[in-house]
Symmetry: C2
Subunit: 204 residues, 2 copies
DNA sequence: CTTGACATGTGACAACCTGTCATGTATGAT
DNA sequence: ATCATACATGACAGGTTGTCACATGTCAAG
């Protein structure tokens, strides 16, 4: 947690520091992030930085927090966009995020840069995705689906959100075109919906 | 790639260096790995290290490569263990890896430590999992299943392998017990098999 | 043997990094 | 005007990496 001193800072100074930090985190993997470069970017002396943040992880945690709300908003919007139908949510989320990316490219490039460069370090645990998935499950409308136990709902949404995350990451890392990545996500959704069933004797 | 000099090293020396590196990578996140500690552990002078490896990433890549084959073996064994039935493979893999972990704890703790501490940095791209998944798809026996296009097969196995990976990681990070993690993986498998279907008018 | 060409070993070094801390400065209450 | 508290600051110790000039092996040809 940043110190109270940081929050008492005049907003322009605070934001300048934050921006310098975001840029640096987006450009290099965590281990190579240099506080020196950050304070140069923010034009504050070294000592001041440590007045505001305990260390690099403290700053990193704080930076990521800032994106958590954004992601939650996107998820809630996509829940709405597909009328609460749970299986459609991850695809809607994919579209929404990609649209957002195109409009706010600079912003998102930073965010994805941070995720890409640091995922695994801590990012996974810092973004409170698991909680968000639970929230979505509770708010989604499951009535149109054949009955699923709570465990099964969790399983389905876990699979789909994880797939959506991979799909977005693949686009950002330029491993796949956005169309191809969307197509694959759609196939995954469809397969989960239809099921990969073992053959049975005809029963009707 | 390590230099040829490295490969010309007398095996004991080479392995001592490698072991020191593995231990260090397993103990700290990539950015905090200290070449100083590695060369102290291996009892070689600093200059020698740079005669063998271009830098830290070069060493890291090489270390990870060593585990790639191990993983491939495990996957192929699990393919066999479940008689080629594709949907069972990830569960079999989960069991196999967990058994292996219990028997070769020291080895695997290192491996998982490396993955956990560095995943996202590069590990995902270094382990050639995507290729392995393709191989499994080709070798599995899809005849028992209702027809799936090639794309759909890829989608299914992608979902399941990703789920298996998460399941193992959850156990290792002690976020879940091995039983609970296996249970969730089994549910995911079952859901994918059965499908999360929208209700239809009765058709028979 | 001796020479020389080449592969390998070596540690001092510059240049960078982080987190601390003693000291200086502002600000607001009394 | 005094004082306490909050804040600003850069020099510093101790760590890091990658390089490089030089020392030492090794091996084939004269």
């Amino acid at each position: 947690m940043p110190t109270s001193t940081f929050f008492n800072l005049p907003p322009p100074k605070r934001e300048k520091l934050l921006h310098a930090a975001i840029v640096e985190f987006a450009r290099r993997p965590y281990g190579e992030v240099s506080i020196n470069r950050i304070i140069q970017g923010a034009e504050i002396p070294r000592g001041s930085f440590y007045q505001y943040f305990a260390d690099k992880t403290d700053l990193f945690r704080y930076v990521l927090r800032g994106y958590d709300n954004m992601l939650e908003t996107a998820i809630m919007k996509s829940l709405e966009a597909c009328g609460g139908r749970p299986l459609e949510i991850p695809l809607a989320l994919y579209d929404l995020v990609l649209d957002y990316i195109r409009e706010n490219w600079a912003q998102f490039e930073l965010f994805m840069g941070i995720l890409q460069k640091n995922m695994g370090m801590d990012a996974g645990q810092l973004l409170s995705l698991p909680e968000m998935v639970l929230k979505v499950i509770n708010q989604a409308d499951w009535r149109g689906l054949e009955h699923l136990e709570a465990d099964e709902r969790l399983a389905v949404m876990d699979l789909l959100f994880s797939a959506a995350g991979h799909a977005l990451m693949a686009v950002f890392c330029e491993k796949l075109s956005s169309e191809e990545s969307r197509r694959r996500l759609a196939i995954k959704t469809a397969v989960i919906q239809r099921g990969a069933r073992y053959k049975e004797e005809p029963s009707c």
